[in-house]
């Protein structure tokens, strides 16, 4: 229950709340970045150890060890793939922070917010298709912006050249 003597009664300093949320996100990401760098450094070292072991290996003499080294290298490659989650996470959080900053700036003007322009700016921050899809599903009707086409469950994607991991040479 709120304290009736609180200076906040009846109003919420929304700008300050948005600032706080943005700061909390920033601190969390700084902590995560340090750990992610440590982890990715370890994964890179596992890969390098595998390479050094293979260079010294006599495959004919020790085929079992050769199999183990191959397994180590394959595992290091899988870990390298998975470790890229941090880069994506950092970008997603940055886009959220940018969207919060847009809302904050709009509120600071004090006038009637131009919600259409604000939503358009928010959507423009997103670089990943699933970010845009989520925005469209939640705010697409309000934003009145061109939306990504609906994707029925189990549908085969036609734009496979933009799927994670895809490679296209021009």
């Amino acid at each position: 229950m709120s304290d009736p003597s609180s200076p906040l009664t009846g109003s919420i300093p929304l700008g300050a709340v948005l600032d706080l949320v943005a700061m909390q996100l920033e601190v969390a990401m700084q902590h995560a970045a340090a750990q992610a760098e440590r982890l990715s450094g370890s994964v890179a070292e596992f890969s390098a150890i595998g390479e050094r072991m293979r260079a010294r290996l006599d495959v004919d003499h020790d085929p079992a060890l050769a199999t183990e080294i191959s397994a180590l290298e394959a595992e290091a490659h899988r870990a390298m793939n998975a470790m890229q989650f941090h880069d994506q996470l950092a970008q997603r959080v940055r886009h959220v922070r940018e969207a919060l900053a847009d809302v904050h700036d709009e509120l600071r003007t004090g006038g009637n917010p131009d919600w259409g322009a604000l939503l358009s700016r928010m959507r423009a921050h997103y670089t990943m298709e699933d970010e845009r899809r989520l925005f469209d599903s939640v705010l697409g009707d309000l934003a009145k912006l061109p939306r990504l086409p609906e994707q029925p469950r189990g549908a085969v994607r036609r734009d496979e050249d933009l799927m994670p991991g895809s490679v296209e040479l021009f």
Binding site: V43, A44, S47, M83, M128, G165, L169, F170
Partner: protein, 120 residues
């Protein structure tokens, strides 16, 4: 001959992953944290291939590609963009700037190495 590849990304962990992948295949690796740093290096040195992120502070990857293509040394160098960016418009922008290819993160190390083999 030992080939040298420049990896450009503002994420340290991404650079580490790309570097480890490339070194495991015997490539030499040069790192840059954004397009500006990469361009400054490229003005003084040549590399055999560039792998660059798109969204970076100071200079983005598409601007970097455009600038590299103006340098005589980099006119024919393969320039790959490695990005989370999934809009066709951005990809087209990269192609128009002179990029050789577009890879969507997260990259698969074996697939990346196979792509490099085709280009080098």
């Amino acid at each position: 001959m030992n080939r040298t590849i420049m990896t450009v990304d503002d994420s340290t962990s991404m650079r580490q992953m790309v570097k480890a992948t490339l070194q495991s295949a015997g490539y030499g690796v040069v790192e840059a944290a954004d397009g500006q740093e990469a361009l400054e290096y490229a003005r003084q040195n040549s590399v055999d291939l560039v792998i660059s992120d798109v969204n970076m502070p100071r200079m983005d990857g598409i601007t970097l590609v455009g600038n590299l293509r103006t340098l005589p040394t980099y006119r024919l160098t393969p320039l790959l963009l490695l990005t989370t960016e999934s809009s066709h418009e951005k990809k087209l922008e990269g192609k128009r700037a002179g990029a050789t290819g577009w890879i969507v993160k997260p990259f698969n190390p074996a697939q990346l190495l196979a792509t490099l083999q085709k280009l080098l």
